[in-house]
Amino acid sequence: MELTGRNISFKYSSGSRQILKDVDITIDNKKILGLFGDSGSGKSSLCKILAGHIKRYEGEVKLDGNEIPKSGFNPVQLIYQHPEKVMNPKWKMHEVLEESWDVPDSLLEDFGIQKSWLNRWPAELSGGELQRFSVLRSLNPNTKFLIADEMTTMLDAITQVQIFESVLKIVKERNMGLLVVSHDRDLMDIICDEVIYLDDINHVDI
């Protein structure tokens, strides 16, 4: 399985700065790829394009050579960098998970989610606690590629490792592809089989 972005160029609006230019990137499910880059260099923007969350861009994103359908379940799931914005404030946490899939209790445990949190509103959880829900939600059984944009920035070092271990276990089990985005180079060296620097594949003039 291969997720490819070809010749991706992007700016947020016609008058604004060019963020990405002619970016080529390939993620396959045989190795874990890391994307590294400075703050503001366009990592999150590229992630959103790969996962279909940004609709207007130049270039193409293909899954095993095929166009990804615009509606219906997207096999490429994105974990957002900011967990506060990704949940409806009027939804209880169990509804957030149920929208995606029926998460087994064992996984809740692996992710350090306490049963009592399920009945809380998003505003009643910390950023790190919300982030675990955001990660779990993206692990729908039909997810083929996972794009983890700063998945663990909200967490302390120990929890960070714990969450990554759980995610990696599932990724291996289900034979999924994983793109890890971060500006924490040390973390990526431990987890990823290969790390690329965004500025090396991005041809914008600065």
Binding site: H53, Y80, H82, K85, N88, W91, E99, S100, N140
Partner: protein
């Protein structure tokens, strides 16, 4: 000395409860009076408003606090009955109005063409004076309570629809909506499960704020003779009939029913504004 300490504490307690309690009190009190008016008017025996030739044109007294009219009917009871009818029409008209507003606001969020259609519709309805439109719709539907109700409902949805349309547009750009889409949820599902819970308080407040307008417009149209039939004890009918007798010096015929209508409308406004304040403390200062 003990007394003064007690006094300070008392002030403190009042200060603490102040805003929320005052808000709740305002809502509770106005709701209580409004419901009371409807309930009482419901139980008024029509026989008590029948003609009484011995009691014609009495100015206000202890026995008839609003006086009596040219047929000897008690004006207080007539006013109550009229207000009850107004509240009922206002109630159904506001609810119908907000259903229209919600439906159109959601419709506009489905695609660009529907959005321009809804915007155009809002502009059209805003450009025609309410009263004129109510009269036209009411006449087209054969007048009566039904005609007025539909007329009022069809003219009062615009501002709520506009607010909701903007709010839905904003919510639709939220990341949780995009995530829902990418989890394969349909537009309809997203409207119902993601967007509706976020606008429901606005819908409720909007509906309550339509209420006083609906009642005023119903009364004005009826007063002008295009609304309810003269046999219905509406407040607008009472006022327009009373105008004929003003010249003869029977000032109480119009003054008290008019004041009562004004107070009723004010009560709704107070209730609506306070509910808005309570549900959305951020906008309390606007």
């Amino acid at each position: 000395m003990d007394e003064s300490v007690g006094k300070v504490n008392k002030f403190d307690v009042l200060g603490n409860m102040n805003l929320r309690t005052k808000t709740l009190l305002a809502i509770g009190l106005s709701a209580f009076i409004l419901i009371l008016v409807v309930v009482i008017s419901f139980f008024i025996d029509p026989k008590s408003i029948t003609t009484n030739w011995t009691m014609m044109n009495q100015p206000p007294s202890l026995e008839h606090i609003f006086g009596t009219d040219w047929l000897g009917r008690d004006m207080f009871i007539r006013t109550l009955k009229g207000l009850g009818l107004s509240v009922q029409i206002g109630f159904f008209a506001s609810i119908l109005s907000s259903i229209i507003a919600v439906a159109l606001a959601f419709l506009s969020s489905f695609n660009k063409h529907l959005d321009s259609f809804v915007s155009w519709l809002i502009d059209v309805f805003l450009s025609i004076p309410h009263i004129l439109l109510i009269i036209l719709i009411s006449i087209a539907l054969g007048g009566g309570a039904f005609g007025v109700l539909i007329g009022v409902a069809f003219t009062h949805w615009t501002s709520l629809a506009r607010v909701l349309r903007a709010e839905i547009k904003r919510i639709k750009t939220s990341e949780f909506v995009t995530i829902s889409e990418k989890l394969g949820q349909s537009k309809f599902w997203i409207a119902r499960k993601q967007i509706l819970p976020l606008v429901i308080t606005q819908v409720i407040v909007g509906t309550i704020l339509i209420f006083p307008h609906a009642i005023m417009h119903e009364a004005s149209v009826t007063f002008l003779g295009f609304g309810l039939s003269p046999h219905e004890p509406a407040i607008g009918i009472i006022l327009s009939e009373s105008m004929k007798y003003l010249a003869t010096g029977n000032w109480w015929l119009a003054l008290f029913p008019g004041l009562a209508l004004l107070i009723l409308v004010l009560l709704f406004d107070i209730a609506g504004e306070n509910i808005k304040k309570m549900l959305d403390p951020a906008s309390a200062n606007d």
